[in-house]
């Protein structure tokens, strides 16, 4: 992540090109989360832009020794999206705009985000669901365990087991990749 460190340093110095590069690298991943929280493309686009404006304006508050840049950006995106979805003023505004607007804002999940991709799909369905709820849908653990109808302790262990399983999958992939690499070098 050496290149990231340099980009982030430039970002913190107010370099717009660095912002552009970081956007190219991370906007897709963040948009995937935001879209799954907002469940509305128009809103999600606004939230994505707002997220990167916050990243730009608050770049100096990111501290590399506390974790990855992506994690920091994810928290901003998640909070911004949750505020957008839960904001009561926005709700009133939508009601004021009448029936037409209401149908447009209906909770219709865009097709391409209806299901998850990658290694998470190899997990058991309740593990998938647990990760999806807290990570992609922005639910708190408390909200999520109610949503799934299991006790909080059970839900927590679902999350842990899911992550352990994911670690194994990524680990195996890594070993396979190294194997292929070594074979290629030989």
């Amino acid at each position: 992540m050496q290149s990231d460190l340099l980009l982030i340093q430039q970002l913190q110095e107010g370099n717009a090109k660095a912002l552009s590069s970081l956007y190219d690298k991370y906007a897709g991943a963040l948009y995937g989360v935001i879209l799954r929280i907002c469940k509305d493309e128009g809103k999600a686009q606004d939230v994505l832009q707002e997220t990167f404006l916050k990243i730009w304006n608050n770049a100096s508050s990111y501290k590399a020794d506390k974790g990855r840049f992506y994690t920091w950006a994810y928290r901003i995106a998640r909070n911004t999206a949750l505020n957008e979805v839960r904001s009561p003023s926005k709700l009133i505004q939508t009601e004021d705009l009448g029936v037409y607007k209401e149908t447009e804002v209906s909770e219709e999940v865009p097709v391409d985000v209806a299901k998850l991709n990658g290694s998470i799909r190899q997990l058991e369905s309740h593990h998938q669901k647990a990760l999806e709820l807290v990570y992609f849908n922005g639910l708190t653990h408390r909200e999520a365990h109610e949503e799934m109808g299991v006790p909080l302790g059970t839900f927590k262990s679902y999350v842990q087991q899911a992550l352990r399983k994911l670690r194994e999958l990524y680990g195996v992939e890594m070993i396979l990749m190294i194997g292929v690499l070594i074979e290629w070098m030989l």
Binding site: Q12, E13, G14, N15, A16, L19, S20, Y23, A27, G28, A29, L30, Y31, G32, V33, L35, A44, Q45, L48, Q49, F52, L53, W56, K66, G67, R68, Y70, T71, Y74, R75, R78, N79, D112, V113, L116, N117, G118, S119, I120, L131, V134, Y135, F136, T140, H141, K156, V159, Q160, L163, L166, R167, Y170
Partner: protein, 262 residues
């Protein structure tokens, strides 16, 4: 043992996961940041971060381009209130930049000089071979010059007699000129006016001394002005056509010209 339990508890509490996604109170946040001082917990957390990031990347959705355009417009309008620069770092950076630029410049100029050198070597080689050619030509010219000077000295010497030999009926168009110097005892012949002979024949010059023909030498083909053997008491000079390389005795019926000495 207590510390071990603590670590295990922390790892299994789900607190790190909630911290990661930003779902913790301020108190919990400080608590986690304290836990993260521990290298084992830190390592575990780093792994979680990497896995979450990867999972997110696998579920990325491309946003429409106008989102970025709008963002860059907004950012561009506010632009660079040049932030407090870390002087050392930027100084180091500019040194590095200068060093890199110099290295690049050095690389380019080395390459340029190398190609130049190759070109110069080629040119030097060309000049050398031209020089060789020129010096050969000069040598030839010098030789020609010496010959001409030599000829001039011979022909212009007041003690040199010039004898013109005209062809008889055997070779009517033939002319030759002999230059005789009785003081120096030299004879030269200008054979330019003699018709060309085939490979099998040569002209040969003879001196008539009291009725006997004495060999003065074969007139070498391709030479226009050459020294012959001086013979004392010659009464006439005679040219015959002989088999290539010349003969011991003249073939009289093939006499083409003769001249009497005074």
């Amino acid at each position: 043992m207590d510390a071990m339990m603590d670590k295990k508890e922390i790892l299994e509490s789900g607190l790190l996961e909630r911290y990661l996604i930003g779902e913790v109170s301020e108190t919990e946040q400080l608590q986690v940041e304290r836990y993260l001082q521990d290298s084992e917990i830190r390592k575990h957390y780093g792994q979680l971060e990497a896995d979450f990031e990867r999972m997110a990347m696998e579920n990325a959705v491309s946003p429409p381009p106008q989102v970025k355009e709008g963002l860059m417009d907004k950012v561009g309008s506010k632009t660079p209130q040049q932030p407090p620069i870390n002087a050392n770092r930027s100084a180091l950076k500019s040194y590095l930049a200068i060093a890199a630029a110099l290295a690049l410049l050095f690389g380019i100029s080395s390459f340029w000089m190398y190609t130049k050198l190759n070109g110069v070597e080629d040119q030097l080689e060309l000049v050398r071979s031209q020089n060789d050619i020129l010096s050969d030509e000069l040598e030839d010219l010098t030789k020609n010059y010496d010959d001409v000077i030599n000829t001039y000295e011979i022909t212009s010497n007041p003690k040199t007699e010039k004898l013109i030999m005209l062809g008889n009926q055997n070779s009517p168009q033939a002319t030759a000129v002999t230059y005789v110097n009785h003081t120096d005892k030299t004879v030269f012949i200008d054979a330019e006016g003699l018709p060309k002979l085939s490979e099998e024949h040569d002209y040969q010059l003879w001196a008539d001394v009291e009725g006997e023909m004495i060999d003065m030498g074969v007139i070498a083909k391709g030479e226009n002005f050459l020294a012959m053997n001086y013979i004392d008491h010659a009464e006439s000079y005679n040219i015959t056509i002989e088999p290539a390389g010349g003969s011991d005795h003249p073939t009289v019926e093939r006499l083409i010209t003769n001249v009497y000495l005074q």
